[in-house]
Amino acid sequence: MRWVKGAALIVATVIPFILPEAYLYILGLAYIFALMVISWDLMVGYTGQVNLGHTTFVGLGAYIAALLQTPLRTGIALHPAISIVTGGAAASAVGLVIGIITLRLRGYYFALVTAILPLVFMQTVFIWRELFGGEEGFTIENTLFTTTLEKYCFSLVVLVASLFVMKKIVDSRIGLRFMAVRDSEELAESLGINTTRYKVLAFVLSSFFAGIAGAMVVNYRFTVSPELYGVPLMLLIILSAVLGGLGTLYGPLIGAIVIYLAKNWWLGDIIRALSLPINDEIVLYAILIAVGILMPEGLYHELKGRWVKSISSGEK
């Protein structure tokens, strides 16, 4: 496993010298998208609580960072690095409030409430149009990096650092408690684990990284728009994580990069080439339904299971 990671890192650092700039730009965005997916996995894959409003935190992080970097709108001009962290902190604060209210209740309340959060927060953009810029969004003024190569490296560094932190968390005692909550809440509680506290903790951490990812998107594309709150983005996150395999971090990471590149690179071309009367979203939703039904464990677990089986049968 170690050499796979090393090889992946080497490929990621060498690739800017090979790939044309336009594709490098998409790949850098794919890394930010991967951060959204693995932070979703931290909550859903490890504690088993279905968060359907992850884009709420992506959007919050994005808008807050954008506003803090645009003196024309708010009169505030913070350093981009500070505004990115503030975006993450604000998202985790909202996550804390929502988490405390909904996660102390068992069952479906968390899924129901998080499902409507993005729809509600999207309305804020239209209600306070002068501030948030309505459906067109707005352009931010001072940014951290300008060239594609710099931005690519920045998103790679943030992704690797965040993955490292999340991996450390899930491998620690805290991560074990997350999984105990997922596998049996009653059992976890009987062992003296305060399940609500750990669910809220996971949610706050997950929201923080989502907020960071949202703020990164803004600093990458220099614009912010309400689609970052959108349900289509939410479904793309879910698709990547489910395809990759929940509760593994690496699976969703690979799923995210593949799905993002597929959506923004190949899929549109294929559909146009075949001149099908559909759009790429329909294809992705159909894939998600198929994966959900046929391989509910995700590709990662499925392949791992087959691999283990083939080894054990080979030994006979």
Binding site: L105, G107, Y108, A115, V231, L288, I289
Partner: protein, 284 residues
């Protein structure tokens, strides 16, 4: 002032009746099969769009409505079939139904674009109640909604089949042991609820306009209603739909339509803070 009050009173009843049809089905599906059907709004919009398209093609209104209801029933069967293999995994049930809802939304978007469409109303004309003008269609939709909800209540509590549905809802394993085919009950409830949602969609399109986005927007109201009424409680959700209907109409009258989602969220949060089991819910 008094006119505004009458207006709120009348329109709240109309809106409450329509959302009652949606939420009672949503609640029934959850109660019986423990499925959170995120695709419930798909039946709502699809039937309205089909009825609109057929009326536009020159078919009679009643044929169009019938076809719309058929489509809603088919969607119910599809959702049943999609959720059957993953029913044990609540994460997957939610993901599959949500993906199906968005799939339907995209198809409608390609076929009809994102503008709102209306269906020709059953009745035309305007009545005047206390100085407030109300279209006959709004009054009729309220009456029809009440008839449907009463029929549903009678079906569940009085008929033999309805009692089987209730038994499955209370304890599906025990129901299986006394010889009830619970798969049939799941399918029946799914089709019945989708029909109610489809009918609600057609009524809604006759009064307001539907666009493909409503399939998700409808979920917000359905969630607010079922949480207020208590998850899985049919009577609770019917009562809660009128409360939510009034909250909605008051919000729109006083603050504007943009605020309705916000107020719904606040309502839900307030209920969860004060009384998480809902007004009529039972502890599980």
């Amino acid at each position: 002032m008094i006119e505004t009050l009458i207006k709120i009173f009348l329109f709240g009843a109309v809106v409450g009746g329509i959302w009652g049809l949606v939420a009672s089905g949503f609640s029934l599906i959850f109660g019986v099969s423990r499925i959170l059907n995120f695709a419930h709004g798909a039946a709502f919009v699809s039937s309205a769009f089909l009825a609109y398209a057929l009326v536009n093609e020159g078919y009679s209104l009643y044929f169009a409505v019938l076809a719309g209801l058929m489509l809603a029933a088919v969607i119910g069967v599809v959702v049943y079939a999609l959720t059957k293999p993953v029913r044990e995994r609540e994460v997957m049930v939610i993901i599959v139904t949500l993906a199906f809802a968005l799939l339907v939304q995209q198809i409608l978007l390609i076929l009809f674009g994102d503008r709102g469409v209306s269906v020709e109303p059953f009745v035309k004309g305007v009545a005047e109640i206390g100085g407030v003008k109300v279209t006959h269609m709004r009054l009729l939709s309220f009456v029809l909604a009440i008839i449907c909800l009463t029929a549903l209540e009678v079906f569940i509590t009085k008929t033999n089949l309805g009692k089987k549905v209730m038994a499955t809802s209370q304890d599906s394993r025990a129901a299986m042991m006394v010889g009830i085919d619970i798969e049939k009950m799941f399918l029946l409830v799914m089709v019945l609820s989708s029909l109610l949602a489809g009918f609600a969609g057609i009524l809604y399109a006759q009064i307001f306009a539907v666009n493909s986005e409503v399939s998700l927007r409808a979920l917000i109201y359905a969630f607010a209603i079922v949480i207020l009424g208590g998850l899985g409680s049919l009577r609770g959700s019917i009562a809660a739909s009128f409360i939510v209907g009034y909250i909605l109409v008051i919000t729109i009258t006083l603050l504007g339509a943009r605020w309705s989602e916000f107020v719904m969220l606040l309502t839900i949060v307030a209920i969860l803070v004060v009384k998480p089991t809902g007004l009529f819910g039972v502890e599980e």
